[in-house]
Amino acid sequence: MLEKRRKPVITPDDIRADLDRFSRRAFLRGSLSLGGLAMLTGCNLSTDSGVDAALKAILRFDDKIQAKLFDPARLAQTYPASAITEPFRFNAYYPDWQVRGVPDDWRLEVAGQVTDKKAWTLDALQSLPQESQITRHICIEGWSQVGQWRGVPLAVFLRKIGADTRAKYVKFTCFDDYTTSIDMASALHPQTILALEFVGKPLTPEWGAPVRLRIPTKLGFKSAKNLRAIEVTNSFAGGYWENQGYDWFAGV
């Protein structure tokens, strides 16, 4: 079971590793390396060089291959409750002491190519059919952990709001200013859920309260937490990490 979260008392020592990591990255972006020299670089996707353009083009090609490899009927492996990772590792684009609480007037907004744009309360979402899953959350960094989530299958929700499921993308916006987007085929996958619970308890803010996306057929950064709005759209929507160079499809 999850430990009760205590009010965090942060000392510089607690976040030294993060601070070092950030300063190291800032330094690296401007630096050359042996690998870089050998392959004609500073090419790290942040410049307009020809090599970066080629890398981005190949990433878009990879996205097409990934979409072709995606089998809508193939399920991610599920695990017994004994396999659930404890303690579960927190991850976001900020450290855990910056986790934001749920706004008082929170509603899940719905936008784009849908017939019913009424915003949803948590109670209304809880009244929809729920599915539970114990699946592996795989981070793009290489680590992975098994967790349990329960919530509304996104396909059920999309039908409920009268979404045009021929649209290309579903975009997620979060109240911590995170964004991501996924292809419609993955959105309709049976294991793609709007999770309301984590390991048998309503989501707390650090695990994505009040509603998060949980999509075990994609890398962890696609499972956006702290959702504020869902948009069904035909215009490519990118995302927080995707716009910096992570591959957009990010299928596993």
């Binding site: 690998g35 050998a38 392959m39 090419c43 790290n44 399920l75 960094e141 992570y246 591959d247 596993v252």
Partner: protein, 211 residues
């Protein structure tokens, strides 16, 4: 009659093998240097690769290199394997050595009495080259497993699951680096082998027996 001087001049390998070797050098460098940066994002062993030895600058850049160069590595590797099978290169040059032949040549190598014949593999070379080809195949298969653990679920179970597949991927990387270190050390001892991967060199082992 053949001119003996002319007959003893040859490159180490056929032109396709030499081209595929150098393409592989480039692809493998991209995979290794990018892979080390990816490893650094979540190191499982108690060390990091130094930044000067990595490619891409950050995780996203490194993944872009890794997932781009993989096409070159796989296409070039597949072409090499097909060429090796159909041209007779594998059968002629890379039959697995008998343990006896391996021990004999290994002992000769340790005593620095193993001649290097251009274009001919001794038993130690056969084991090393054959071995690194098998390791590269495992490296590609475990790479596919951790790239697409859901879509290639069967392959992942073959390697004992996602976590184990990733560890095997890292272990094979270390073996590949080990091979490269030995390979480069031997090239440094017999420098004309480097030239012979570009053009013809005298193949007389007596003349070149400087190892």
């Amino acid at each position: 009659m053949k001119n003996p001087a002319q007959a003893s001049m040859r490159p180490a390998h056929s032109l396709p093998v030499r081209i595929m070797h150098w393409v592989n050098v480039y692809a493998l460098c991209c995979m290794l240097f990018g892979g080390w940066e990816i490893y650094n994002a979540s190191p499982d062993l108690p060390f990091l690769f130094p930044q000067w030895a990595t490619l891409g600058g950050w995780l996203g850049g490194a993944l872009a290199w890794h997932l781009s160069a993989m096409w070159l590595l796989v296409i070039n590797g597949a072409a090499y394997v097909l060429y090796g099978i159909f041209s007779g290169h594998f059968k002629r040059d890379l039959p697995p050595p008998s343990p006896k032949a391996f021990l004999r040549d290994m002992w000769a190598a340790v005593c620095l009495r193993l001649p290097h014949k251009t274009g001919h593999y001794n038993a130690v070379q056969r084991l090393l080259y054959g071995g690194v080809i098998c390791i590269l195949v495992i490296e590609v298969l475990t790479g596919l497993s951790i790239w697409k653990p859901v879509q290639f679920g069967g392959l992942v179970s073959l390697f004992g699951g996602f976590v184990l597949a990733r560890n095997i991927h890292l272990a094979m990387m270390i073996l590949i680096v080990g091979f490269i270190v030995v390979h480069l050390a031997l090239v440094a001892i017999v420098p004309r082998t480097l030239v012979s991967m570009f053009k013809s060199v005298p193949s007389d082992p007596q003349e070149a027996n400087d190892a």
